[in-house]
Amino acid sequence: MSDNFFEIKNVDFKIGNKVKVKNVSFSIEKEGDIICLLGPSGIGKTTILRTIAGLENINKGSIALKGKTLSSENINIEPEKRNISLAFQENSLFPHYTVKKNILLGAERNEIKKDKSINFEELINLLDISHILNKFPHEISAGEAQRASLARSLITKPDLLLLDEPLSNVDQSFKEEIQEKLKKILKNSKITTIIVTHDSYEAFYLGSKCGIILNQELKQFDDPYNVYHLPNSVEVVNFLNRGILIPAEVTSPKSLENKDLGTITGNFVKPFPIGSSVKLLIQPEDLHHDDTSNLKFEVIDRKFRGTNFIYTLKTPNNTLIPVFVHSHHIHQHEVDEKFGIKRPIHIDHIVCF
């Protein structure tokens, strides 16, 4: 028996007879940790949460919480006996009760445990739902319903909290604030949480670990920095869409050569034989702008992101390269202008496939 707080071992997640995600294994070491599962829509993220909650069965592998097996080929503890709470993506508030009554139904469960780490008043203030307490679910917006549902799940003080796209209906302007508050509540009350989202920024902010689910598999399970900077497969790179893969040839244990960029130095994350042809990951922050450089490419697009610009450059070999520039940079470049890249090019972590 492992010491992990929560553990999934070799589980095939399925709905009916259709397998959605195969042979998944990951664990949460400590109580209070937050992990995020990322993946495109329809990939099976919700199925994973439903299965952990006991709403779907498994016939391969095992799921254990606090050392106790919840699901396996022969065991399936009923959802109501797991003390796992799932906040659904869609409105799952009881339609005939007010928001307050809905949340208090969650509190009823907590009363047994007399856990005071989550206080009703504090919770409704943090999630900014005090004004809708006496309304019925059909009278509130989707974002408010989602926050009310979140409050109901939190107040039960579950052993494991599962959040399915918890902020998908929350207004963008309000999202960051809620993310901060949510993280604070979860950390303060030490609620172990698995969050499913398709928003990588949300996952990187909230999760201490992130799992990437692609093509029916858990492709990578690592801390957010590594998932972003050290993706372990081309699929993960393509899914995160934060860089491009360009052809290069390994010239030494610490360098590569690309036809457009020339020599690139750095530390290989995974060693490749000298002379081998690889695909090198270039992320927007890997290259630096330098107006004085003689390595110049044509600007074909410019995206303003508030704190920065992302320029898309076209090389003579028709490769499109993204480059990050701080938005307070002394001047801006227009489309069709030439844009200089600082040489020599050095990338701390060289990721190749």
Binding site: A53, E80, K81, F88, N91, S92, F94, H96, E108
Partner: protein
Amino acid sequence: MKFNSWFVSSFLISFIVLIPVITVFASFFETTSNYYEILKNTFLVEYIFNSLTLLLSVLLLTFIIGTGAAYLVSFYRFPGSEFFKWALILSFAVPPYIYAYSLTAFFENYGTAFTILKNLFGEANYNKNIPKFDGMFGAILSISFSLYAYVYILTRASFLYQSQNLIDLGKNLGFSRFKSFFKVILPAARPAIVAGLSLVAMETLAEFGAVDFFSINTLTTGIYNSWIYFDDLAFANRISFFLLLFIFSLFILENLSRRRAKYHFNSKGGLKQKVKIKLFGINAFLAFIFCFFIFFVSFLFPLSQMLYWTIKFPENLFDLEITNLVLNTLYLVLLSSLVLIIFSLISNYGNRVSNNKTLNFLSTLSISGYAIPGVILAIAFITFIAWFDDSIIKSFGFSSIKKIFIGSVFGLVLVYFIRFYSLAFNGIKSGYEKMNISVDESAYLLGYSKRKTFTNIHIPFLRNSLLFIIILISLEIIRELPITLILRPFNFETFATTAYISASEDLLEAAAVPSLFLILIASLFIIVTSKYILRENNE
């Protein structure tokens, strides 16, 4: 598939509902049957011709009245439009047979019309100038003015959900109001109109009281007469076979159009609330007259006629054992509602928690009972019980069970169950459809067991739906005639059967009192439920 209690109960319900259908179809394969001979040598051709004439005429009339009224109250504001919106469904309180009594009572020789003319203009022979609404024409009017509300309710609902954008689009294309109605509004409401007309068609083919009163030989009266006058259950079942073929074609048509209607009703996104156009002058007057005429003819006229006779012949009021009739009606209503609600809840809950395709299929079969005319249900039920008693029970040496099922409240409630199961089942189903399955799952995750979820979450949520269903069942049972007439215990009467018996004995004035009570009670139920029937939002 798991062989659990949901499966058993759903299977049992489907089996009970299918008994009459199986019985009728079994009669088709009897070796002695020679359908060509029956067709040639009996009145079957006449039955079919009359049924078709009645059907087509009623469909045409209900289409004009129902669609016209729905269009006016949905798109325009005119004096009384808010009142007519719900008042036009009061016609449901007047079953066709009571309408037939009123029509006859008013227009017959020396009837109410004659009395009015005499009081206004003095003694004269007015009888030859007063039109007679009897026979086929009387039956068509009686049924149409009672049933047009099906078309009215469904079409109005469809009109309400029609987007303002659609109407604006018509205007944008330069359509006149007239052209917009025929090119945009009416085609968009077509599935709802077809659904309404299919219901009218099924009810018309099943209609017994009014056609029997006007002595029209249709398939339904043919079934009843074969049994009552010729004591020929087998022949009654054979006619039923033809009628069922008709009905099932309509049933399929209705289901198909309802499925399409749903598509239209659900178009919520990006719709503007429709703005009703205010009518002035002659247009407002004409709209008012049209709606008032329908309301008057369909409801006020039969109500006043029955009221007039009740006052004119007060002795009938005292002759009638009203307390008994009320108690009998209450007894039937409560018992039937209870049984229907319990089984419908079990079946719906079973479907919800098991999400099993076989269960869903069985449920679909179970709701077909509403399409089968009451006369067929009652006679097929008697046939089945007689067969079961003779072939199964007696062969095991047990004593006869006929008395338990035929001429008993138990048998009556059982057949009501078959007839009205769809009402209860669909009512609860639509209630459940408003509650996402994740609500149940949330309850489980809050520590609720399945039983606690059912009692603490489902029942409170479905409370209004259940109340609505009980009232609808009550309304149907109060108006129901053929099943009650055929299967009721000896000396057990309802308002409907009392009215029918008096009318069939040519004692129309005696039929007025139970008819009046029936209309008043039914109206009360309709008023209570009108909020649900005519709801204008998606709640």
